[in-house]
Symmetry: none
Amino acid sequence: MKSELIKQSINLFVEKGFSATSIQDIVDTIGVTKGSFYYHFKSKEALLMDIHSHYIDDLLRRQNTILDTEKSHKDKLMAVVELIIGDIEKQGAVGRVYFREIRHLKEENAAIIRGKRAAFRDNIETLLAEGIEANEFRKELQPKIITFAILGITNWSYQWFNPEGSLSVKELSAMYTDFILYGIHSSGASN
Amino acid sequence: MKSELIKQSINLFVEKGFSATSIQDIVDTIGVTKGSFYYHFKSKEALLMDIHSHYIDDLLRRQNTILDTEKSHKDKLMAVVELIIGDIEKQGAVGRVYFREIRHLKEENAAIIRGKRAAFRDNIETLLAEGIEANEFRKELQPKIITFAILGITNWSYQWFNPEGSLSVKELSAMYTDFILYGIHSSGASN
Amino acid sequence: MKSELIKQSINLFVEKGFSATSIQDIVDTIGVTKGSFYYHFKSKEALLMDIHSHYIDDLLRRQNTILDTEKSHKDKLMAVVELIIGDIEKQGAVGRVYFREIRHLKEENAAIIRGKRAAFRDNIETLLAEGIEANEFRKELQPKIITFAILGITNWSYQWFNPEGSLSVKELSAMYTDFILYGIHSSGASN
Amino acid sequence: MKSELIKQSINLFVEKGFSATSIQDIVDTIGVTKGSFYYHFKSKEALLMDIHSHYIDDLLRRQNTILDTEKSHKDKLMAVVELIIGDIEKQGAVGRVYFREIRHLKEENAAIIRGKRAAFRDNIETLLAEGIEANEFRKELQPKIITFAILGITNWSYQWFNPEGSLSVKELSAMYTDFILYGIHSSGASN
DNA sequence: GATGAATGAGTTTTCATTCAT
DNA sequence: TATGAATGAAAACTCATTCAT
């Protein structure tokens, strides 16, 4: 029931936004009462924090697995891009909430999430820096800025990409990987 | 006074979000009463629409100037990237509202804005398609998808880039242009 | 209208207690809406503070007048006792709220009221001390403790005394003055 | 466990008031669940009634012992004053609840408690009347009113007296007995 | 142009109580 | 005896909007 509340609230948050979604809206979708909601969550903000925590924790765990498993820096980067974009299929809605609603967490919680977001970003930045060192990526790149560019590409796709359309998640990942790589690869040649 | 209301509301919308900002919050910052607000705006949503309209109209106008003025497709693309990123300096706050709060427009108005957004996007898509045709860009690219990638890079920068930091708007534009070009340019070589 | 809200809320607070009285209860008695209440008061606690402030400020002002006007310490004390008890007639309800509900003020406000209560008490204590000095009252008394005893007598009367019964406010004051005096007067003889 | 619930609830009622204390607050202090509470008490009001009943029954029993044991009316009165004030030490918290929260009993129970309060008061009134008859106290006193004065003195002390301060319960009783006596005693002379 | 007062519908949250296990 | 989950009613408070002046 708690997980049902989370699931439905995510859909509503995507559709109407966090502030514009009322507890009443949420409980109505599964036919329980507001009291029930507050049995499971201390507050509306606590629910939002729950959503954010689970999402980024899961993402970080899988990112670490990739970094431990893949061999070349290029492969690592490709896998991370696929990780983010691949999620649109199963967790697109959560992702949209995650990218959009962090400002409705109270400062204390926002700081925790921002810390984890930074860790996720730092992992990419380090990956780029090491790839440059290893001559896999272009020397003149600034890892920090390129990291933001890559995240812009992947994260923005949550705003427009419909995985049920004619383009699959796999195909989009491939295109974006190609786009990113042949901008940062030390040789400028395409495949 | 109307423009003062717009200016202050933009700041508040950035800080707290549209839903979480009350008319009272807005009028308090300039020391007038709610009645005054309703003399100038029909509703809270009308104010939001006003902000959206001016922003996208201005952007479209400048984009068209670029498309009419610049020569090569490469130069056109570079200028459009600079247009978006350069705006962070003077209109960063409006941009953040524009990217974030469209879902609080009523459907009728949202449709208008979505139309103009699509026009802005289509212009880039067309530019890419023509660039491919003209052999300036790689043949195998899908203009529509690459457009989203480019917009991801530029629009996402509104979320993190601080133009008062050590990196200037000019420098960021240059880096991103380079990053984009040498991923889409038919020759893979960097400058 | 603001004063009407205060008046009715006092009656309800006496009857049901502060916590058990809802804003709805209050506004219902004068047929306005909750919104109106919150236009005039920032919160329920602010209303309670308003009641407390006015009551004690008025009391202190009148106590000071007495201390400045009356001649002997005995007369001053009698007048203060009459002040407190006499108020039951016109402000009995406010007094009952004042004595009972201070713990529902937020700490910040409670401290202010406690300060003024202490001032009122200190004035009596000083009066007693000076009366002892002047040989009007018994030497062995501890002014501080006797002050509490006197306040106990007068304040407790708000809990049981009905000024519309067979005993008038004047008569009660006289009885209590007599009771107090011939316990503290240096001669133990009654009149 | 039942007695533990009573003990902790008394502390909370003193601190926050009956209405402002939730069942959750109570059970949290001893680490059980609300269900447990309702195994032991039919309702929140039943708990309050339990507290009131035990307190006044105990007080009445001890008052009767005093009335049966002590010889002179003066001694009886002194012992009753000591009884009330002495309780601040061991049962100060219950007393504060008892004086303050009677209005949260349902009418049926409030009537029972009011009856017992009246009995306690009547015993003092009778004691005074007999003392007057026996020439121990002043003829012109109205026993009923003086009873309220005495109760005012003693009961009010629950609002300010800290038995852990520099003044002991014994000392306070002595002072108040002296204060009361040499106001009502037929001879006006102090000890 | 601007204000002050009011509204009504809605918001988040609390809480005494119940009950199957 | 005790718990965990749920309820329903009500609480305090907010807020976009209106309107007479």
